[in-house]
Subunit: 431 residues, 2 copies
């Protein structure tokens, strides 16, 4: 396995003003190609610090450097890398050409400030930059390939995909490893790990990565090379069999987008009727463009009067059972569907906390209701001891997951009620 | 100034599965006490790697280490720090006592797995852990104070505030520096920096940090010591004078919570009527507990039929002017306020993109309407070239900011319409 180091540069990292997302992005990029990242180092915009970090890192065969390649005086990466590798900084014709073309595309000429970005360590090879002015470049030094990348997020991503991937393939014969990403909702990370350990019978080469992104888990299965691609596929299918509907998709699509796509494909329209989650479910569903094709409306009915006025929930029902109750959730779903003339309605009423709980209905008590053309389904869920934000988020995902199951199978729940008592709260650590 | 290094430990950092938020949190903590963080290093859960990183870091007077202090075999930080400082790992009576008390509080006894957390490098001083089992500890080595902190976020935060702060004060006479945080919305970071450079006449000691958190900017003013506290205060007041209503609060409260608190204080109720932002504004307002006191309801009216049905917007108005228009925004605000019997209503209709734009109303065109007991205000905003998520977010903040101004002054806009043409889109880079 090829060893690598990552060096990120910027005073804003050392003051804590910015969280270092670039390091993680580069690490993921390298890991997915089978590179073993041994160390991530961050230093400020100071030539001596950068040079020292470069000197320490070039013992490994690969060093990725990002940040500090802009046109201002604060940007000292070129000088630092040059000093760390004992080279001069020189005007680089390929970099100048890259800048000239890039600026011409914006109808501008080369200024002196821009020309600074054409000055690179001697012997650098310009990789370019599909989106910005600062060119990425590489440098061979003592058996280490140093690659310097601009820190603008969109530029960095484009360079990784279009330039660095092919470079690593040429230089180290590295290729993206076969990988399958499963998105899982409705099981804790600990239970998922135990289940796969005891039931999967995975071969030794299989790498399983759990990436909790509350309240779901991104599960990545990785094989060392293309020879294992078919077996990887059958392992993924086995996991899908073990987890059933808890795997809601393969790939990078999020649950709200999966639900939205299902509605759109089937030409069905949805109305929402919610209280405790505020606008979260509507927000999640409309994060994806084109949501007007399936979302009619959402009634966020915080007050009891709004539940009566906007959804037709009888005031007596609220007085008798409370706003957080099975009959009210059912009436909200029914009312939303009928008033909107929609195919489906999703209703949520609950106590997100921290106040408002009672012994019978403690904080974290949530009722989810669903109405389809035939029926109204309601179930009570408990997320005790969770924060307000966590209750709201896991409620939104539980509701969307139920809607997905209803669309797919006509039954919104993972399993019949009898089994529910032993069911853990759907979700993972990290709330 | 005291130099420090930060070492974060965990395989999940090197694979990129987890973004290193701890490093930033520790860096902010140290910076706010005037410590200069020189380097942040991340290594995996391997004793040799940890030991190597510790050996390199102890040249500075302070080293904070976090991660890898749990009870499982993956947690190698104690061994790594011991090897890096040439010490044995021994059972520590204070750590055992800490564990015993913590577990007794949960009605449990000490298991062998727990006892592993009582084994520390020889000579360690136990600091404790107000929330968890893994005790934080410190170690003096060759003039360097090494402090090892558990990586569970809530525990880490409690230890910083309750244990590490006082320790740094005793050991280095470090105190939190006087600092004032202003939250700013409605100006770009570049313009803000220029304005402060040209107009503020800041003393040389003033440290200004800009932390963009789209679409707002967190502006921190910091003084080296208590002697400058009064002048710091008057500098903050001067900035508030320069920026006017663009400074929406001092401190850590976010704009939606500021608006919610204003409504609550005044005993006023709000209704929302929105389309393109989906449920985002309702979500933001209800992130804070107690929002049921001021939020009556939100009508997320994606379809034209929903605008008619839920808000009473005349269908002819939509046909004549389009759903994204000044008259429709006004009718949405008026309808929402009247139907809910609320004091105020906030309406938003716009084109978040990427589709749906026209030459007259390109993507990023948004109308914001506000109704109070006397009047309805509407204004058009343009956020051209921004992503869907950015348009929605900046729209939500612009709407909430307008509501805040309406509550405070009776006028929702920063300035009269005549001046608006030269106004930049409110917001900052990083969309």
């Amino acid at each position: 396995m090829l060893d690598a180091a990552i060096l990120t540069i910027g005073d804003e990292l050392l003051s804590g003003e910015v969280v270092d997302g670039h390091a993680a992005e580069l690490a993921r990029f390298l890991s997915s190609r089978g590179v073993c990242v041994r160390r991530i180092v961050s230093v400020g915009d100071a030539v001596a610090e950068i040079a020292g970090a470069v000197r320490a890192a070039v013992r490994r065969p690969l060093l990725l450097v990002t940040g500090g390649l802009g046109p201002t005086g604060d940007d000292r990466t070129v000088e630092g890398v040059a000093r760390g590798t004992g080279r001069a900084v020189v005007r680089h014709p390929d970099a100048e050409e890259h800048l000239r073309r890039r600026l011409a595309g914006r109808g501008r000429g080369l200024s002196n400030a821009n020309l600074r970005q054409a000055e690179l360590p001697e012997g650098a090879v310009v990789l370019g930059n599909p989106l910005g002015t600062a060119p990425a470049f590489s440098l061979e030094h003592d058996g280490c390939l140093i690659v310097c990348l601009p820190g603008v997020p969109a530029e960095l991503r484009a360079i990784l995909a279009e330039l660095l991937g092919p470079l690593l393939e040429r230089r180290f014969r590295l290729q993206p490893r076969p990988a399958i990403r499963l998105r899982v909702f409705g099981i804790t990370e600990a239970r998922l790990a135990t289940l796969l350990e005891t039931e999967l019978e995975a071969p030794a080469w299989l790498r399983i990565a759990y990436r909790p992104r509350f309240p779901e888990i991104l599960l990545t299965l990785e094989a060392p090379g293309p020879e294992q691609e078919r077996e990887l596929e059958s392992l993924a299918a086995r996991i899908e069999g073990l987890l059933g509907p808890r795997v809601y998709v393969r790939g990078e699509i999020e649950l709200p987008a999966v639900v939205g796509a299902l509605l759109r494909e089937r030409g069905k329209r949805l109305a929402l009727a919610v209280s405790c989650t505020g606008g979260l479910i509507a927000k999640l569903l409309t994060d994806t463009p084109g949501s007007s094709e399936f979302l009619d409306s959402a009634a966020v009915t915080y007050s009891n009067a709004a539940k009566e006025r906007m959804l037709g929930v009888p005031g007596t029902l609220i007085q008798t059972h409370g706003a957080v109750s099975e009959p009210v959730a059912a009436a909200m779903a029914r009312g939303a569907r009928e008033r909107a003339g929609a195919d489906y309605a999703l209703a949520v009423t609950g106590i997100a906390g921290p106040g408002g709980g009672t012994p019978a209905k403690p904080v974290g008590t949530v009722y989810i209701g669903l109405a389809d053309p035939q029926e109204v389904f309601v179930r009570r869920f408990s997320f005790p001891g969770w924060s307000r934000a966590a209750v709201r988020r896991v409620t939104a995902y539980t509701a969307l997951s139920a809607l997905r199951l209803l669309l797919l199978s006509g039954n919104p729940w993972f399993q019949p009620r009898e089994e529910r008592s032993s069911d853990p709260p759907p979700g993972v650590a990290g709330a």
